[in-house]
């Protein structure tokens, strides 16, 4: 198993963000963590990335426990950071270097790659994401879509086996959203694991083959995307869809509605 969680609980400032969570994520899978705002998706991603640690329960990566003590071990930490990459919801937190090139080179430098390899790899990923023209620009002067691409490039440059994405299409225009979805679908040729936290259901079947639905930090459902999407009652209960009313041939019409970029 890639990740295994057993009875994991995480609390902060008196709030239980993750409540006794147990689940298993196999290698090479494409997972969607679904839930409304505050359901614990982002917290779970940070736990999977070893950035925060639960107060009780365990979490393992390929059989090794992810704990604060274990991550103090250089060999484990370097191997773990090399294998798992995370793209944050707010790209601004990920962009702290003076230029786009330096930003993308930051990860490989920390993982002590050879400098000639870093230059080649950074140039390659910038070209692949079509942001080569931004290489000398200051990250904070970029548009929202460009920032998101740079944040993604700064993680993809490491070619991680596991990609954690926190609301990857949030605040993007429709074209950028569509390009982001294409990238997630094509990335790694299907051999990599992609775990996406989202509440947008429009492209669920494209980006995931397994879903976990969270509500109040608890796992309330899991299954294939088509099964989850068909369970209207579950989606309504977890605030993933809502009643939408509009005029239709002279009368008021109402139906369940969710947000996403695909027309349905």
């Amino acid at each position: 198993m890639l990740f295994e969680l057993a009875g994991l609980t995480y609390r902060y400032e008196g709030v239980t963000a993750i409540d006794g969570l147990s689940l298993a994520i196999p290698e090479g899978s494409r997972i969607a963590l679904l839930g409304a705002n505050g359901s614990g998706k982002s917290t779970l991603l940070r736990l999977l990335d070893g950035l925060i640690f639960g107060q009780s329960g365990t979490i393992t990566f390929c059989g090794d426990e992810i704990s604060e003590e274990h991550l103090l071990d250089d060999a484990f930490a370097l191997a773990f950071r090399r294998s798992v990459g995370m793209v944050f919801q707010n790209p601004d937190v990920q962009l702290f270097n003076p230029t786009v090139f330096d930003e993308v080179a930051f990860g490989p430098l920390q993982l002590r790659w050879r400098k000639t390899d870093i230059r080649d790899r950074v140039d390659d990923i910038l070209d692949r994401l079509r942001i080569g023209h931004l290489r000398n620009r200051v990250p904070q002067r970029l548009s929202g879509g460009e920032k998101k691409r740079v944040a993604l490039a700064s993680v993809l440059v490491l070619d991680p086996a596991v990609l954690l994405l926190d609301e990857p299409t949030a605040a993007l225009d429709p074209l950028s959203q569509s390009e982001m979805i294409d990238l997630m679908v094509e990335w790694g040729g299907g051999s990599k694991s992609v775990i996406t936290a989202t509440h947008e259901l429009g492209d669920l079947e494209s980006i995931a083959d397994q879903c976990f639905v969270l509500d109040g930090g608890k796992l309330v459902a899991e299954g294939r995307p088509e099964a989850i999407l068909a369970d209207t009652e579950l989606l309504r209960r977890t605030n993933l869809i809502h009643k939408h009313r509009h005029g239709h041939r002279g009368s008021l019409h109402s139906h369940s509605h969710f947000h996403g970029i695909s027309a349905r």
Partner: protein, 273 residues
């Protein structure tokens, strides 16, 4: 009830917004000036850092006013040939230096014991001390601003690392700049949204409340942001030590400039004894 002033100018919100806007403008100016095709912009960052430091040492050691004046004139000539306007230097480098050094220098003009100047309370020794202080401050700030306006910030940081400035210091400098700008933008948006929801001029009590609550919100945002940034750094392998790509290349003009700066600094130090 407060008076209705839909187009009121000079209020707390307007002044704050203007201040934030001009701070961002200054950052933008430095960024664009560093990209121009001037004399200093074409030089390697290490040469400029070393040159600025050697000139600063010469300014600090000089005991003759005309030597400091010569270094100041050299700095002006470099500014002009580097397409940095005198207006920008005056507003950003000289004004601040004059105000801060003037606060100390003006009392010294009167209080330093010595021969009176044409029977006035000023003394010759006081004038000399004050002139030294002001000239040193203005020349030093001109040199530093020339470096900052002709060199991308990232290159200055890299050059500092080459001069063995500790990594932690360089990283903190880099991140501080980055997040000062981000917080300026956040504060700007915050005050703009306040302005869009306000119809009356704020009373002094409301202004104080707004200033205090805004400071609190900004502090909270800063703490949250810094925590998230640290996590993002950790996620990409940061473990306390920072590694940088240093891709500087010395060309013939850089060697020539290094020689020129070294010769001039040595000459100024010698002449200023």
């Amino acid at each position: 009830m407060s008076d209705f002033h839909p187009n009121a100018r000079g209020g707390f919100l307007e002044n704050t917004l203007e201040g934030l806007h001009s701070a961002m403008e200054r950052a933008l100016y430095a960024e664009s000036a560093a990209q121009r095709d001037g004399v200093l912009q074409r030089l390697d960052a290490r040469v400029k850092v070393a040159g600025a430091l050697s000139m600063l040492v010469a300014v600090a050691l000089s005991m003759k006013l005309w030597v400091i004046g010569a270094i100041f004139a050299l700095a002006i000539a470099l500014a002009v040939t580097s397409l940095i306007t005198i207006g920008a230097l005056a507003g950003r480098a000289w004004l601040g230096a004059l105000i801060f050094s003037g606060v100390i220098a003006i009392p010294a003009v009167f209080l330093t014991p010595g021969a009176p100047v044409f029977g006035s309370p000023m003394t010759v020794q006081g004038l000399r001390t004050g002139s030294f202080l002001i000239m040193r401050a203005v020349t030093a700030s001109t040199l530093i601003f020339l470096l900052a306006y002709s060199t991308p910030w990232s290159h200055i940081l890299k050059a500092l690392r080459i001069f063995r400035v500790p990594v932690v210091f360089v990283v903190i400098l880099g991140m501080t700049t980055r997040y000062i700008l981000l917080l300026l933008e956040t504060a700007h948006d915050m005050f703009l949204s306040r302005k869009s929801r306000r119809v009356n001029r704020l009373t002094p009590a409301e202004t104080r409340r707004l200033a205090i609550s805004s400071s609190g919100v900004l502090l909270h945002k800063t703490l949250h942001l810094s925590g998230e940034v640290y996590q993002a750094m950790q996620s990409r392998g940061f473990r306390g030590e920072v590694y940088l790509l240093d891709d500087f290349r010395m060309r013939s003009r850089d060697w020539f400039a290094t020689g020129a700066f070294a010769t001039l600094a040595a000459a100024f130090i010698f002449l200023g004894r």
